[in-house]
Symmetry: D2
Subunit: 136 residues, 4 copies
């Protein structure tokens, strides 16, 4: 499998709550942005996936542990690491870091569905292959 993918982002006002820290639900947004850029880096843009291959990825399960709070202006690194590739779904491990501090850790299951009928369908072979190929 590929090495871990990293995506950088900044914490803005919109991400915080009255506790003064990032609202926990927003880590799912951060993980999503990183997954999207990971797929793009592999050569697959989601909108093109949908129109050209008739397939969409949908999130079917998310497990997140919140370990340490992020704050306004923090610069975060969000990682993506494939854990298990199935025929119609895959499990990813994603983490959010500030420097050497792990802030949140997740397991995300995404399933592949037909963009017309929303029924489970095989993950396009080209994607599986791209994920499985070691980075040069």
């Amino acid at each position: 499998m590929n090495d871990e993918f990293e995506f950088a982002l900044r914490v803005y006002w919109e991400d915080t709550d009255a506790g003064g820290v990032v609202f926990y639900a927003n880590y799912l947004k951060f993980f999503e942005r990183a997954r999207t850029e990971w797929l793009r880096a592999l050569g697959f843009e989601q909108e093109r996936l949908r129109t050209e291959l008739g397939a969409m990825f949908v999130v079917s399960a998310t497990g997140v542990r919140y370990l340490s709070p992020a704050r306004l202006d923090d610069q975060l690194r969000v990682t993506v690491k494939p854990l298990k590739l199935g025929r119609v779904s895959m499990d990813l491990v994603q983490q959010a870091w500030r420097g050497q501090t792990l802030l949140a850790e997740s397991e995300i299951r995404i399933g592949c569905v037909g963009s017309a009928d929303f029924k489970p369908t095989r993950i396009p072979a080209a994607i599986l292959q791209a994920i499985d190929t070691p980075a040069p």
Copy 2:
């Protein structure tokens, strides 16, 4: 025209930011919820509008003044008052109140578009009529 419509909502963690108050962009969500319930109270559900009449309302301009902050657990009243009805768009005045304190005030322009081509189209007569009829 109808009397002013009122919609009640509560401020939750998701609505706040690190300043300890409601994130200003979220008032647009509050105004949207109130408009949706106002249309529903007039007999028009947006999803049905789209499928049955082939029309959608889209927001084309928003002007908001933020006067006083709302906080976690606050109970707000959000109002809707038609200001000007045109053929393809209407202007509404919307306000957010906590008790007798006006928190935010807006003018919202919504335009009617075809749900297939997204081109401006006449507001369905039934809607204009419902808005223009004084409440009993």
Copy 3:
């Protein structure tokens, strides 16, 4: 323990994404609203908890399975059911339903922390007692 608590909410534009359904991250907001109203129904408002008892609940882990999509205008019921009460944290099961269809199911762990130092602290006895008392 108390019977299950139910909270009703409506799906608005803000909750949806370009897939035409509720954006999965937003179920965490729905669950949060229901938990807040559950605590309020037990007699504990979060802002007062913080100022009077010096305690805050923070979400430390969330696990969600997304089973069926919700759409614009849907009326949902969100439930709260205590699963395990500890000294400094509790586990809740929360579900989102549309009619008889289960849309999303979660286990949420919330921890009690001091509002000044953010360190784990005992859940106030009055809250544990209120949760443990069967509804009349």
Copy 4:
């Protein structure tokens, strides 16, 4: 005054709604991100402003016209241009562009308040000076 500042961002699922386009309220988030980076580029981080100078910027009015929809995966440029600098507030013009298409245009008024009492206070001279100095 400085030349126009530009900030690049990508449209993700979280930004869209069931209409298939960016939810209009989210442009306020895009404008906010760009303003934050503009201030940072001038040498002023908001969190440091608050703790070191005891001043915060708050948004007191927003006017936005939505001209053309943005979609998933779109790459946008968001601009910041000071329009009027006052003693306790400033007006900015901000625009969102995709290529040569202007998508949304706004006037944003931000006021300077004391971070303790939230009362209007003079914009720190160093900030006014930094804004007024032509870029090299």
